[in-house]
């Protein structure tokens, strides 16, 4: 028996924008978990992982941010969208600072790197929620 779901999301996010935005979440989250693993084990490979995960997160988040800014410049100004762009921008900036902190040697990344990684991972989740929620709110049929 086929089930038809009437309530469909109609996200305004372009599919590629959505992939970039959602992709940043597991990367920032992975960096945070790697930092926790390094802090608990002193095994240096974890901090190497964190560095690369952050680098990857910054690349995809930069793509999403660029896309969001282009939409902004084309006149998309509703409140949720502005909040999304702002939170994503802060996420990226703090993520960049975090990446610089992770370029320090060995334990010099701690504790600043771990704190920043937690903050940035949370912010990335918030930015992603706002980005997708914006699509739903603006696209009610």
């Amino acid at each position: 028996m086929a089930i038809t779901i009437d309530r469909r999301y109609r996200s305004d996010l372009h599919p590629f924008h959505a992939v970039l935005l959602a992709g940043a979440v597991p990367l920032f989250l992975g960096a945070m978990l790697s930092d926790i693993a390094y802090a608990r084990s002193y095994q240096i490979q974890w901090t190497n992982f964190a560095s690369w995960l952050l680098a990857g997160a910054l690349v995809v988040a930069a793509g999403a941010l660029l896309w969001a800014l282009v939409d902004l410049s084309r006149g998309r100004r509703d409140g949720l969208w502005l909040a999304y762009v702002l939170v994503l921008a802060v996420t990226w900036l703090l993520g960049f600072v975090d990446a610089l902190v992770h370029a320090r040697d060995a334990w010099a990344t701690m504790p600043t790197g771990l704190v920043l990684s937690v903050v940035v991972a949370v912010l990335a989740c918030v930015a992603t929620w706002l980005g997708f929620a914006g699509g739903r709110a603006g696209g009610a049929p």
Binding site: I44, N48, S51, A55, V97, L100, H102, D105, A106, W107
Partner: protein, 429 residues
């Protein structure tokens, strides 16, 4: 969030710009000033900008002359003056350290701009001045197919070469210009990763033992503790059997070793850790105590703990020896040679030190050869500039000194691995 923004707005430009001027503290000698540790978001970096010498020459003291006796070499590092006055030059470039972090990729690219693009020769070149006119008219390849040779020592008829992965021996007869047989391996040397690949070498006064300097596999354990097994130490190798034991440990990167004439004691110049600020940590010259521990990685200059190392080791910190003589932070001492009376009265008693020059400092230091005066077998007084002008007032770098060797006939031989030149400094006759 507001606090974070305020922090960013205020701190970011300052942090990114590094810490501005680097006031020079009194950092020479037995008790250098050690400021607080600091590291902005970016390390201070000023990389040498290479330029050719043209008509310029390095500067030497009044009453001395300098000449290039060989050019267009393939990364000359250390030299050895043979009993008949011939000079052997070890040429090569080693290391196989993987890039583990995005930082390694970026920093590696930037730092490579400050070095010669020439491929390492992996050979020993022999230079001869048969008629004693100061022109080394003969130049031959004494041995090739070596693996990043660096340290050189002659004991009787045995020429020892410290490759980046093994200590090898060649037979040598006076007057020979080419090795007649391939090298014989005496001992394998720690070679995994080889973040610091140079293997310094000196032979004990009686020729029975060889001392090999083995650098650490990281700046400060950022490649993991496992990578540091058998690193940052000096080995004593039995020349006859190849058996080795650690002679002294905790020496981050002992880049040159020399036996002091008279006392027969082993001395070393050691490059210390980076990224703790423009005036930390001083590179040093020290006599090497058998069984001594000199701090790396747990502490520096005695018991100053380095917080970047985990797990820490308070027992090792408590045992750390304070080195004899600070040469200044980041100078990158790579050459060491005790002087001889033939170098002239002012420079007769002491040691010459070749300083490759800094990267981790906005105001560059090093890029010269200094003379550390000695009295009663100990360093006495501040270092005296002996060869300068490698880094010009125009900010361009024309040469970077590595190995220094005293020719007992009265000359200092300086290897320059940026302009690929061997310089010879002589007292004017």
């Amino acid at each position: 969030m507001n606090r974070a923004f305020a922090w960013l707005a205020v701190a970011l430009p300052a942090l990114l710009a590094g810490c501005g001027s680097d006031p020079d503290p009194a950092q020479y000698g037995a008790a250098p000033d050690l400021p607080a540790q600091e590291r902005g978001l970016l390390p201070d970096m000023t990389i040498a900008r290479p330029a050719s010498w043209g008509d310029l020459r390095p500067t030497v003291p009044q009453g001395y002359a300098i000449a290039a006796i060989a050019t267009d070499l393939a990364i000359p590092r250390q030299t050895l003056v043979l009993p008949n006055g011939d000079i052997l030059v070890a040429e090569g470039r080693g290391g196989s350290a993987a890039r583990l972090k995005p930082k390694d990729v970026i920093a590696g690219y930037i730092k490579a701009k400050g070095t010669s693009p020439v491929k390492g020769g992996n050979r020993l070149t022999l230079l001869r001045d048969a008629d004693g006119d100061g022109v080394y008219e003969l130049r031959t390849v004494f041995a090739d197919k070596l693996n990043a040779p660096y340290g050189l020592a002659l004991v009787g008829n045995h020429l020892y070469v410290a490759n980046q992965d093994a200590l090898v021996r060649l037979d040598y007869r006076e007057g020979q210009v080419k090795a007649e047989a391939p090298p014989v391996k005496i001992a394998d040397l720690p070679a995994a990763i080889n973040h610091h690949w140079t293997k310094a070498l000196a032979a004990s006064a009686d020729g029975r033992f060889l001392y090999v300097g083995i650098g650490s596999n990281s700046n400060i354990t950022e490649r993991g503790m496992d990578a540091e097994v058998d690193r940052a130490r000096v080995w004593q190798v039995d020349a006859a059997t190849g058996a080795h034991k650690p002679y002294a440990t905790g020496l981050r990167n002992p880049t040159a070793l020399a036996i002091q004439p008279g006392s027969g004691r082993l001395w070393a110049v050691v490059n210390e850790r980076d990224e703790l600020g423009p005036n930390l940590v001083p590179d040093y010259l020290t006599s090497v105590r058998e069984g001594g521990f000199y701090g790396w990685p747990y502490s520096y200059w005695g018991r100053n703990v380095d917080p970047r190392v985990r797990p820490q080791d308070p027992a090792k910190v408590a045992a750390a020896i304070v080195p004899d003589y600070s040469l200044g932070s980041h100078v990158a001492a790579l050459g060491l040679a005790f002087s001889a009376p033939a170098m002239g009265a002012k420079f007769a008693d002491g040691a010459f030190v070749g300083e490759h020059g800094s990267w981790n400092r906005s105001d560059p230091v090093g890029y010269k050869v200094v003379f550390v005066p000695f009295r009663d077998g100990r360093p006495a007084g501040p270092p005296v500039d002996f060869v300068t002008g490698f880094r010009g007032e125009d900010g361009m770098t024309r040469g970077r000194p590595v190995g220094v060797t005293v020719d007992p006939r009265g000359a200092l031989i300086v290897a320059d691995d940026l302009s690929n030149t061997i310089w010879r400094v002589t007292p004017a006759r």
